[in-house]
Symmetry: D3
Subunit: 68 residues, 6 copies
């Protein structure tokens, strides 16, 4: 599947924290930690757990730029 989102970052799941409906997935991307907030159902369907190889996908319109 090819996707229009410009940002597709390869990573490895570090941790999954399930809440009541929403889970936080921490992903190691080249030594940085990227956090994704997704549904518990998606965690189950994708069988996400520490060590899983994943992609973090981010639409370019969702990226903010800052300078110090």
């Amino acid at each position: 599947m090819k996707i229009s989102a410009r940002n597709v970052l390869d990573g490895v799941v570090k941790d999954v924290k399930k809440g009541a409906t929403t889970a936080h997935v921490l992903i190691d991307v080249s030594g940085m930690t990227v956090t994704a907030s997704i549904t518990n159902e998606s965690v189950d369907e994708l069988a996400l757990k520490a060590g899983a190889k994943v992609k973090a996908i981010i639409k370019s319109s969702d990226v903010i730029v800052a300078v110090d």
Copy 2:
């Protein structure tokens, strides 16, 4: 300034493409390219151009996870 967005990635601007109202900013983050779609006004106010040190900020609710 401290910010609630979980993902704040350090990078360097590679290229800026201005459109009629919307600009695309390509940012090198640890060898990966992150694209941000922002307003032309923001490009001007932040003086964004190739070589500028920036941060790419992404809210965790905007990160999708995929597995092959």
Copy 3:
């Protein structure tokens, strides 16, 4: 590829309108028109044009609910 976004709708491209940097892609989904605002680059890379079979992907945190 399996994806965490809950909403993956099958459709057919009706029209593509490229702007200076941002394109609008109109997709027929079961007789409804879904509009996606994506980069021109993505239109080119995915070779999007009228008649192409596509999926419209939407994260559940981006869906608003309204009642009359």
Copy 4:
């Protein structure tokens, strides 16, 4: 009320799952299931429950396009 969001899909609520703060609302739209992640407060204020007629509203900048 007229709204700038390009995607306003008519549907019927199939299920509402409340979490601690965030609820998932499953909406039948022409036989497809659209999931919305919204606050519990909104579920209460809109009196959302199975069978309710609703609209699923999605901004075009939040739609990703994919091809197989």
Copy 5:
């Protein structure tokens, strides 16, 4: 129409800048300027121009919090 988005701010359009596909609408909200990036089509359909009474609608999952 009642809407799940928690943030519905009353305002008055100050300026509309149309681009090739994407327009920027500047809205005065209690003396603050809120900028919305929407499609040109929406500007036309809603007949947005300086002086128009509008609402700026923002989903709570799209609000970032910062402290100095």
Copy 6:
């Protein structure tokens, strides 16, 4: 830090409601209440509580415009 997001609104926290993973932060902005849905971790790191001076940051691509 200067940020590309066009909308940076000064406010004061009115209330913080933590859920299992996701918190709702109610912010008074010029007499209006702006709700932000953020992670519990961010609430802790920013030490958010009633009375705290904060900024509500919103990207212009996340603002919908409506007219009655």
